[in-house]
């Protein structure tokens, strides 16, 4: 379980980068699959956070689940779009790392306090009454309406992020289905398992256990030798 407090992280990329770096890993698909469990476990601690905050973490969690599932179950076919998502997450994390390092450097430079100072504008200039000719009370009213119109609302929630978070649930359901499908031909017992497929069976079974351990899936065997049923954890 990840013990650090949320306040330490400025966002999901920050959290993910921290996990990868803590293991002294470089950023790639393998390292991301290694920290996926940890990341997803951490999300559970975030349930109390604001909807938007949670949403941005969930979007990345969905890609991590894909990575994890594939690492455990190589037979799982990913769509082209999902492949792009995985590559994109890697690139984003690398870019984020780059800027984070720069920001630490900037912070260091700021701490040196070698600030440069300007001269106060118009210092020493005496004031003289010179109103703009066209100004009127009506202009002022128009200007203040403009100001009021663009005042930020405290609870502005960007809708696209929330939408993406909603679709995450669908994605999880869909992924589960594909995993079940992928298992069904392996474990159905209808086909004889060839030697070269045995490795796949073992890997798949490990994957199944891993996913159950993570709480993604539960399985049920009503009687000894009955079919094993895989269910989504409710």
């Amino acid at each position: 379980m990840y013990e650090l407090a949320l306040e330490k992280f400025s966002g999901p990329l920050n959290l993910l980068l921290d996990m990868v770096e803590e293991k002294r890993l470089s950023i790639n698909e393998i390292s991301l699959s290694e920290v996926a469990d940890q990341y997803i476990a951490y999300l559970k601690a975030l349930e109390e956070s604001s909807k938007e905050e949670l949403a941005s973490f969930l979007v990345i969690a969905s890609t991590l689940m894909l990575i994890k599932s594939r690492s455990l179950l190589p037979s799982l076919k990913l769509t082209e779009e999902e492949e792009v998502d995985i590559k994109e997450l890697e690139d984003r994390l690398k870019m984020y790392k780059f800027f984070k390092e720069i920001s630490l450097k900037l912070g260091g430079i700021g701490k040196l306090k070698n600030h440069l100072f300007g001269r106060e504008a118009y210092a020493g200039m005496s004031y003289f009454f010179s109103p703009p000719e066209k100004i009127s009370a009506e202009n002022l009213k128009k200007a203040i309406s403009d100001v009021l119109e663009i005042l930020p609302k405290v609870n502005d929630l960007p809708e696209d992020i929330v939408e993406r978070a909603v679709s995450l649930e669908e994605k999880m359901a869909e992924l589960k289905e594909r995993i079940e499908h992928s298992f069904s031909h392996v474990f159905s017992g209808k086909t004889k398992i060839k030697d070269e497929e045995k490795v796949d069976v073992i890997v798949s079974f490990l994957a199944l256990l891993e996913l159950i351990k993570q709480g993604f899936l539960i399985f049920e065997q009503k009687r000894l030798f009955d079919n094993i049923e895989i269910k989504k954890y409710e």
Partner: protein
């Protein structure tokens, strides 16, 4: 110029209104005579190579533009302080009109940008004035000047169109400030 002379100049540059010799001596840990000598060197250098000068007023010295630059400076002032206000100038003025007397931090908060430069401009043009905050003598508040009010042809600020409702909306926004997350 030596290091001390350069630093005295930099100090006068940022201080705006200038400083007393004794204050400068104290800052650099020198006696007044040494500071006077440095200022003499600075003065000579400025005369030779710059259109800046040392202005002496009793014990006080300040850095100013010299007479040779006066035409340039006047030209600049004419450009800067005549003609219509920019959109952001007008907005700043409107916030002060409808919400004044108001602190600079509140103006910045409402407009969502730093207003210090704009305030200087409006002050020099005599459209607003800066007074001590009656609630906190250490800070300042801004309000519309009497000259400008007269220019608008109204006798009281509350005669501005829809004054009551706009002032209230601004007040509501400013009082929500404490709930905002700080970065």
């Amino acid at each position: 110029m030596n290091n001390l002379e350069k630093n005295i100049e930099a100090l006068l540059f940022v201080s705006g209104e200038g400083m007393s010799i004794s204050k400068i001596s104290e800052i650099f840990g020198k006696n007044d005579g040494e500071i006077e000598e440095s200022i003499a060197v600075l003065k000579d250098h400025l005369e030779k190579d710059h259109h800046l000068a040392i202005l002496r007023d009793g014990d006080r010295v300040s850095l100013v533009t010299s007479a040779e630059a006066s035409k340039t400076v006047e030209e600049f002032a004419k450009e800067e302080f005549s003609g219509e206000l920019t959109k952001s100038g007008l907005e700043t003025l409107a916030v002060i009109a409808y919400k004044g007397p108001i602190k600079r931090s509140e103006i910045d908060y409402i407009r969502g940008v730093n207003s210090s430069f704009m305030l200087r401009n409006l002050l020099i043009r005599g459209l607003i004035e800066r007074v001590r905050d009656p609630k906190d003598q250490r800070s300042y508040v801004y309000r519309i000047s009497a000259d400008f009010l007269k220019f608008l042809g109204i006798t009281s600020i509350s005669d501005l169109p829809d004054y009551g409702s706009f002032a209230q909306k601004l007040e509501d926004f400013v009082s929500s400030k404490s709930t905002e997350v700080q970065g």
